[in-house]
Symmetry: C2
Subunit: 413 residues, 2 copies
Amino acid sequence: MGAEPPRTVARPELDGARLLSDLDHLATIGADPAGGVSRVAYSAADIEARGWVRETMLGLGMEVRRDEAANVIGRYPGAEPARKPITLGSHTDTVPNGGRYDGALGVVAALACVRALRDAAVHLRHPVEVIDFAAEEATLGTPTLGSLAMTGGLARDALTRPAWDGRPAAAHIRDAGLDARGLNRAVRPRRVLAAYLELHIEQGGVLDAAGIPIGVVEGIVGIRRFAVAFAGQANHAGTTAMADRRDALVMAAPFVLGVRDAAVEAGVVGTVGVLRVLPGVPSIVPGRVELEAEIRGLDEAALDGVEARLGELASGLGGELQRATAKASVRSDPELVAAIEAACDSLGLASRRMASGAGHDAMVVGRYVPQAMIFVPSTGGVSHAPEEHTPPERCVDGGRALLGALLELDGRL
Amino acid sequence: MGAEPPRTVARPELDGARLLSDLDHLATIGADPAGGVSRVAYSAADIEARGWVRETMLGLGMEVRRDEAANVIGRYPGAEPARKPITLGSHTDTVPNGGRYDGALGVVAALACVRALRDAAVHLRHPVEVIDFAAEEATLGTPTLGSLAMTGGLARDALTRPAWDGRPAAAHIRDAGLDARGLNRAVRPRRVLAAYLELHIEQGGVLDAAGIPIGVVEGIVGIRRFAVAFAGQANHAGTTAMADRRDALVMAAPFVLGVRDAAVEAGVVGTVGVLRVLPGVPSIVPGRVELEAEIRGLDEAALDGVEARLGELASGLGGELQRATAKASVRSDPELVAAIEAACDSLGLASRRMASGAGHDAMVVGRYVPQAMIFVPSTGGVSHAPEEHTPPERCVDGGRALLGALLELDGRL
């Protein structure tokens, strides 16, 4: 009642074995006969997994609700009623025939953190919230659909976009027993959370190659996509002298290399993933080349510099660069980054700062509340595939870092 | 009877106006409402044009036959019965919606040469043969079908190949009232002709740009086609560091430029007309690039050199070059080239030697008898299009050069 609430005296300890068995159990839901896991957003397997998450939360004594987007939200009470919750989360949906770690690890680790508190009979100053976000993968045409719904960021056409099977997103949502139009009612007020922490597999090979167990995510990269066209002159490949040609592919080839060079020099990544040659006939000098390039980086100024350079390069080669889409980078909150690093230090876990090259729910939530992410290694950098793998001890390291950061933050915030 | 045959005393003169009006008339057969001419091989318009050629030959007092491939062959007798004919020819079939000069000019010019002889009441030492070859264009899946049939060079699958409309070539041949299986009966013995001369539009822009009325074709280029594959590693375009990538498009881009450079340095032409990026998704580092390259040149040793260099270049970039097809170059007969040049000199027509970058019936016949070709300018290098154009005076120049070469050869051979 009026007594001083209990503080973190005996440090709660993460049950690594239980974390791993939860991860194993989750992998049986939607297990693909061909290997890997298929828990596509709003499919029966996805809903089943969310049901398991909900039951687990209830078993931990959490208050649980499922919002209008099917985000599963559990709350473990804090000792100081006025405080906003510190939220831990990730997602349990997968791409078709995906891996067993992506998203799932972050959810079971968040549950493991609450379990550690409950087992130690500890309540932090802040409530601890765990969210299993819905539809993080882009299978419905919009990545991070659940966190966008929660933060009021859904695009107007999000429900009509074609899903992975060609049907509109809304049809999948309805099949799951949800009211597609009601998704906007999932919105929560801004800054209703004290902070958001997400543990996720790296999906790249940086930590694995460096032999470092923990990545402290400084931010999620901005992504800019460009459409680039080179207009040459289609002509007979036999009768047109080399000096008389305006070969659009010869114009475009240095641009491909220029994207690589500009990205390397600016410390960002740059990719030409699409290149179409028109008319695309062996005996005709290419008349037109259309390509799609993207650059990603944490530093918007660096992206500005690369974009300007690519624009000049394209013009210089006789082409034209047009920006198609741009998603701004999201910096992690410095206080949260410091808390994760302090936790890793006290746990004796080596860590390095890094950017996330892929989008995550944290990116969406980060426009709304302070956020940071913890990465664990992906063996060989493989992700979104049955071969996706993070060694068991690294999964447990990630859970321990998450718990450590939670405890650290509870004291700092 | 036993008297000395009449020799070329009064030089026969080409009737340029009649040549042009014949060309105009021929352009009305198969005239496309959209502009241009559509006389696709073995179509009704093509058969009608062959009928007109036959009638014109008969009107010139020639013996005419149509062989099993629908090649129309007319013979104007010579003064020395033991001599083989000097043959002039080209084709009257077109690509769909083609131009009015390609092929047609060579046929009406050949008829004009015979007309000049007849009008001057001259018989050369050699018989003069005119051939309107069937199906020179690749509309039936096999270019130079008629001349291949005449020289026994038809591929085994030539009749089953899909034509421009998807139906097999044999169906078009049967629709024209021919016996498709009988095509091989069109074969004539090797060396049954003394020489073969063909006037054709250049189809490139060399003569037009240089302002030279006559091109003396030294040979028809050899064509080598290559399939080139670059195997990289598909990966996430956001999470894969630049240093960790094996981007197949970055591997392939220097190859595109290398084809250009190697061709320029060797004095041949080289083209990458097809390039496929796999998987071809903006957010995935290209895992595989497949391209098709071709080189064309007169000098087989130069082509060997370029092929070797491209093989090394592909290997050096981590790719593999495989030869898909090779068609050897065909050199023009030096005696015929000299005769054309002598004729141009005596007519005051500027000429330059050049290679033909496209295939022609002369290429096929040239494996069988001595051949050479005469080119006239194509305005702007346009060909196989309604805009294809050769100025009237250049058409007449071409006819005069052809007649001059015929007279010259009659004396030399």
